[in-house]
């Protein structure tokens, strides 16, 4: 079927990467993961995969883990939760991997975690940002990135400080985007903004004309869109076509990728995005990580890459401290652990929910992402307000 070829490639890659390191006497520690290497989330899933690959390389360069080499076993779930469930089942029962790492995206994690919980496997889930996943009494799942609910906090906060009054919230109708939109609505209400328009659209939607026509009629000061990549691009293009001119327009995922600017060119200017990580942030090891990644993969890492890298480091650190691969011992360490990686801070509550990591908001300014929020991490001031499309 469709997943075979990329999966075989991934395994071959993993083997090739492992081959560089001097072999140790014992069999390697095999860590399984299902990733979205094709399909809707392919772009982001691949970055996460590269984060895992770099982590594997770095761990092995330092002598591996518990004296054994580390080797990733990766399959492609085509961005489909049901496929990921099957793949984790296979990784755990057929391949008998020693540990697992999380897949890409909240919906895929939400589906897969049922398998890992069933077999009592610790899963550090670096790219699951939906709070509810961690609030269902699960024992072995750990969060790395900030929750979906705070993605648009920076946008809303800046809007309030600039005296804006009304906001429209739109989102893809999937787990992560819904949570990000709900979080934005809640924060906006709390800060005294009025929600003048709110609507969801189905995954894979390409034509936003009717939605944007309605939104335009509501005339919001701020448009907060909980998106992935395709819809963020399509929304921006159609906002220009329909001449929709909010004073601020922000997106969630996808807006931080270099491809976002490459695709939209100057139309991406002034757009706000939220990101979990930037290579310019002052975290330990961040610059070295950034250079090594560029060297290995020929392009810059996104936050998905870095979250994957950091998640893998966090899991490895917990294994090291537990001096064991036993799920309960590793879990105990993961609950106690406080760690700074190139991705920022890690610390979780008793249910595995992330509480230490910080989100930043940036704006596209002259082909560059400039961090504009929060103030203590900001590199520059936001260009405000966003000029109408007709006068750019």
């Amino acid at each position: 079927m469709t997943s075979k070829a990329p999966a075989a490639l991934a395994v071959a890659l993993a083997l090739a990467a492992g081959g560089v390191v001097p072999a140790t006497a014992q069999a390697p520690i095999r860590i399984g993961a299902s990733l979205s290497l094709t399909g809707t989330y392919a772009k982001l899933g691949k970055n996460q995969h590269e984060g895992y690959q770099l982590c594997e390389k770095d761990l092995n360069a330092k002598g591996g883990l518990l004296g054994r080499k580390v080797q990733f076993v990766v399959y492609d779930d085509q961005s489909l939760p049901a496929t990921a469930v099957r793949l984790y089942e296979k990784l755990i029962t057929e391949d008998k991997v020693d540990g697992v790492m999380g897949p890409y995206s909240s919906p895929v994690t939400e589906a897969s975690v049922n398998v890992t919980e069933k077999y009592k496997k610790v899963m550090v889930a670096p790219l699951a940002a939906t709070t509810s996943i961690f609030k269902k009494g699960r024992k072995y799942i750990f969060m790395v990135i900030s929750p979906a609910e705070v993605y648009l906090e920076g946008l809303v906060d800046m809007a309030v400080k600039r005296g804006l009054k009304t906001v429209a919230v739109i989102n893809e109708d999937t787990l992560f985007s819904k949570a990000a939109a709900a979080g934005a609505v809640e924060i906006a209400k709390k800060k005294g903004l009025q929600i003048v328009f709110a609507e969801a659209y189905p995954k894979g939607n390409t034509d936003f004309s009717a939605l944007l026509t309605k939104l335009k009629a509501a005339n919001p000061d701020v448009v907060a869109a909980a998106t992935y990549f395709d819809d963020a691009v399509a929304l921006t293009r159609q906002m220009k076509e329909l001449n929709v001119n909010p004073k601020m327009f922000g997106v969630t995922v996808g807006g931080d990728l270099p491809e976002f600017y490459d695709t939209l060119k100057q139309n991406a200017e002034y757009i706000y995005g939220a990101t979990q990580w930037e290579h310019t942030l002052p975290y330990p090891g961040n610059p070295e990580y950034f250079e090594a990644y560029k060297k290995d993969f020929g392009h810059e890492p996104s936050y998905h890459s870095t979250a994957g890298y950091a998640g893998c480091l966090i899991y490895a650190e917990a294994v090291k401290r537990a001096n064991s691969l036993d799920a309960d011992k590793v879990r105990e360490q993961l609950l106690k652990l406080e760690m700074r990686t190139p991705f920022g801070d890690y610390k979780v509550e008793a249910d595995g929910f992330q509480v230490a990591h910080k989100m930043v908001t940036f704006q596209w300014q002259r082909e560059k992402k400039v961090t504009v929020w929060p103030d203590e991490l900001a590199q520059g001031k936001p260009l405000f307000p966003t000029p109408p499309w007709t006068s750019r």
């Binding site: 469709t2 070829a5 990329p6 290497l37 094709t38 399909g39 809707t40 392919a42 772009k43 109708d173 609507e199 969801a200 659209y201 189905p202 894979g204 939607n205 390409t206 034509d207 936003f208 004309s209 009717a210 939605l211 026509t213 309605k214 009629a217 990549f229 395709d230 691009v233 399509a234 293009r237 159609q238 220009k240 076509e241 329909l242 001449n243 491809e259 695709t263 939209l264 060119k265 139309n267 499309w389």
Partner: protein
């Protein structure tokens, strides 16, 4: 607001009509439901992408090139594979074209990777009397209308067109009258693929290009030809515009989430009330 949404619906509908016409032609002549229609559209979009980025061609000038290229692909597919199942039970042709579809999508993933590509050509819109006409979509509309009109002229007035229609009405009688039915099958499949490619080439400037972009177009085209009447060529036009309008109006009056639901409920209603489509089934 209503007028704006109707404009958007007609612009979207013209593309549906163009692409569905290709699917309808193939079904009319061969009774084959080509599941690979969407993936052929995807190949058309990639043709445009590579011609514009590598050879700096104007994306709209790539439309005939993409059509010609996919015409050849269509002819080869028909000669090599589809021809073998034309007389087989319909399930065989469904399975075969489903297989071709999976193969094309995966080959595209290997060859082009699943990175999202986009052709950034003209963005923005013309404002006429308070209505926004998206530039890229209006030009796509004009091309779609042109290609659709040419296809109708071809079907109506040329010898080839008459032979195609004759074959679709009754293969045996066409054969008796001296029509080379095998050749007509081949050319029709090529033409169908070319129409899908035209749709893909036009979509290239509107949406992001990726190997799986075609799937939804197979289903939408199918919906359109069932709405309009399978095997009835003007029906594709009516069905396409209707689908475009229904989707947009449902987004406006209900929500965007419900627009697809409404489109498929419409399909069920049409099948219940007028099983042969709004304009009736194949012309006899």
């Amino acid at each position: 607001m209503l007028a704006q949404v109707i404009v958007s619906g007609i612009l979207a509908g013209s593309l549906y009509a163009l692409v569905a016409l290709g699917l309808g032609l193939i079904f009319g002549v061969m009774r084959v439901i080509n599941i690979a229609h969407g993936p052929l559209l995807m190949l058309g979009a990639y043709t445009t992408y590579f011609l514009t980025t590598r050879l700096d061609m104007n994306p709209f000038l790539t439309v005939p090139v993409a059509m010609a290229a996919l015409f050849v692909v269509g002819v080869l597919l028909q000669r090599g594979l589809v021809d073998r199942v034309v007389d087989a039970p319909e399930l065989s042709s469904l399975l075969l074209t489903f297989g071709i579809s999976i193969a094309l999508v995966n080959l595209a993933q290997l060859a082009f990777t699943s990175d999202l590509r986009a052709v950034e050509y003209i963005t923005g819109s013309w404002l006429v009397g308070g209505l926004a006409f998206s530039k890229s979509r209006v030009i796509a509309f004009l091309f779609a209308a042109g290609v659709t009109a040419l296809s109708f002229l071809l079907l109506k007035f040329t010898r080839l067109g008459k032979a195609i229609r004759a074959t679709s009405q009754s293969r045996e009688v066409a054969m008796v009258c001296g029509v080379d039915v095998g050749r007509i099958h081949m050319l029709t499949f090529g033409l169908g693929a070319a129409l899908a490619a035209a749709g893909g080439a036009l979509l290239a400037v509107i949406v992001a290009i990726q190997p799986e972009m075609g799937g939804v177009w197979t289903f939408k085209s199918f919906l359109v030809i069932v709405l309009g009447g399978a095997g009835n060529y003007p029906g594709a036009l009516v069905g396409g515009l209707l689908l475009g309008l229904v989707e947009q109006l449902a987004s406006l009056f209900l929500t965007t989430q419900l627009s697809e639901v409404v489109a498929y409920v419409l399909l069920v209603l049409v099948l219940l009330v007028r099983p042969s489509g709004l304009l009736g089934g194949r012309q006899t």
